[in-house]
Amino acid sequence: MEANTIIGTVNKKGQKIVEPEYLFFEAPRQQYFMTGSEVVREAIRRASVDISVAYPITPQSEAAAMVGDLYVEGYVGDYFRGESEFAVMSQCAGASFGGARVFTTTSGPGTLRAYENFPMWAGSRLPILINVMVRGINSPLNIQPDTLELGMILDTGMLIWHAETAQELLDYLLKGYIVAEEPDVHLPIAVVIDGFFVSHTKDMVMIPSADLALPPYNPYRSPVPCMDMEVPPVRMMRDPFVMKSNYISYATHASWQQEIRAAIERSRKHTIRLIGGLIEEENSDADILIVSSGTAVAQGREAIRLLAEEGIRVGIVKVKTLRPFPHEEIRQATKNAKLIFVPEFNVVGWMAREIKAVIPDNHRVIEGPHVAGGMTMPPEVIVEEIKKVLAGKKEVVRG
């Protein structure tokens, strides 16, 4: 199943299999006005997904259900509802071990219920793509967006890309597979959006024709054996890893997790090429910068506009990938800033923590503003925060 023999062929649904680069950069696109959930459906329609497992939880239920429609239409190989998110992620693992391209979605409490699986996916080098539509975590019960769950999956060994818009959601879902499945990466990937803000609002999206599809996953390009018993020699381990009985198993245990982290870093070159860099900058020579990810960036941009009206110049750095974390890029982009504001949709400020950890003079970082528990972040809140600090009216919270 060499990639070049499959390009140009037609799949069961009559879609033409094209080079990923063609689909991403050259194929003509048409404009649609769609919700984020519908965008997920359109991405998966073109993604040559073999298996998808679903479990309902707001706000991702709608997208998960639409993938079921794609299965009935014949665009997805198999689809079913698992019994809980822990089971769903285990089912996804089984399917991926078996060499399938896998897609699933989850949100908030579901993400946490599934949690034990994420480091296992990474440790097993399973390139599963999960669309996380963040939402608040109980208690109190809350179905509105909150990125607390993201702070919790940062160190599972997965790639994590945070999309701001529906367009990025479409592109990240398709490009995510290509990066995650590279042999020198071969890791699970979470494509994240802020639930409701992106999943349930309509936005203009440019989409290539439904007659085109990504090449299918080739499980034999994997750095670990595919569990289908097809490629001799079958693995005869005869070397109990878990017992660390000899040099090979010892060395494996000692280095495996580092290798996962190294693979995350190796994904940079593919990611930079496909999504155009790990960060985006606007006026980053300004003394005051806003640095954040997801829809907090959109709110930040609006705040910049409001501040500019009052003659206060503020720049913005949008962080597109949380893993790999763009430490060098952020260091460079913030080198001249005197104040760095980090608006976040969570109570703990994990993004500020991440930024503080990678830049010099990190007393420049002002953690906030924070909104949590499913609250919205009006740009005025960011404006107010910046003005308060500038006027010396607010003591800066440090560390």
Binding site: A93, G94, G98, P232
Partner: protein, 296 residues
């Protein structure tokens, strides 16, 4: 098929470890009618293991592996527990992911294999302890049966959590005093074989591993029925001699004592009507072949 799966390419033959060469040269892969009698001869059936000396799980493991009708296209799914220490020695592809999620992993795996290789035989066999099957993983065990997933579930029932040092399990006998059941277990042994039958399994068997012929027949039937008809379940008593305080040589007697007609591991077998019809059709297929070969 058969040995093709494990053949060493000529250029590499002389640099492969002698152990591996021997393994390939004496493999039972592709051998018609491989079974428990190959135990002790064929290397792919575990020479060494890391279980306690005399643990009945070790012989149960060998029987299960020897009786797989199609090892070259079988993937086993395990779980954390004493069994997970054996899987690394096993010469059949196997997955260990987490504690209790084995039937969920197997569901995804079986579907992936069915999707990628339509029309080709690909067997999936789950093998896990009673804690994994009936406690932490019970919802996934049952739901895989409800969904009629086509794979075998084998439970090594040692009536407690052996790997963590003998805690209470759902399959433990009522009244048994164990760690975390300091006043004796309060409820009966969960009737998983009956639940399995009610939940849609097409073949259910309860037995010990004291009689290899019986184990062989059960494993074969379970695999063949799961392949074509639907989910199957086998519960094997593999006593944890360590935790019940037996000597290494006493495991066999413990199993014999527990399989009397009124004991909890009296041999029981359930075969659904659909599965019976399928087994009969296999028999029918065999007979004309036998006649023609004698005529030839």
């Amino acid at each position: 098929m058969g040995k093709e799966k494990i053949k060493i390419c000529d250029e590499f033959y002389d640099i492969m470890p002698p152990e591996y060469r021997e393994l390939v040269d004496s493999a039972t892969y592709g051998k018609e009618g491989r079974g428990w009698k190959d135990v002790g001869v064929a290397k792919e059936l575990i020479e060494e293991h890391s279980l306690c000396a005399g643990c009945p799980e070790s012989i149960a493991f060998r029987y299960v592996l020897a009786c797989l009708p199609n090892p070259e296209d079988t993937v086993m799914v395990g779980s954390t527990g004493c069994t997970s220490l054996v899987f690394p020695h096993v010469a059949v592809h196997n997955i260990h992911s987490l504690f209790g999620n084995q039937n969920a992993v197997a569901s995804g795996l079986k579907r992936a294999l069915a999707h990628r290789f339509p029309g080709k035989i690909k067997d999936v066999v789950v093998l896990a302890g009673d804690g994994a099957t009936v406690d932490i993983g019970l919802d996934m065990t049952l739901q895989s049966w409800f969904r009629q997933e086509k794979f075998v579930t084998i439970c090594f029932d040692n009536e407690l959590y052996a790997n963590t040092g003998g805690q209470e399990s759902g399959l433990m006998q009522k009244g048994f005093v164990s760690k975390m059941a300091p006043a004796g277990k309060k409820f009966d042994k969960v009737k998983l074989p009956e639940i399995a039958q009610e939940s849609g399994c097409h073949y259910v068997a309860t037995l010990t591993v004291s009689k290899p012929n019986r184990v062989e027949k059960a494993i074969r039937q379970a695999v063949l029925i799961a392949r074509e008809v639907g989910p199957t379940y086998i519960q094997l008593y593999t006593p944890c001699i360590l935790e019940i305080g037996k000597q290494a040589m006493e495991g066999l007697q413990e199993m014999r004592d527990s399989e009397g007609p009124n004991e909890r591991f009296a041999f029981k077998e359930y075969i659904s009507e659909e599965a019976k019809a399928y087994l009969a059709s296999l028999e029918k297929e065999k007979k004309p072949a036998a006649i023609s070969s004698t005529q030839a």
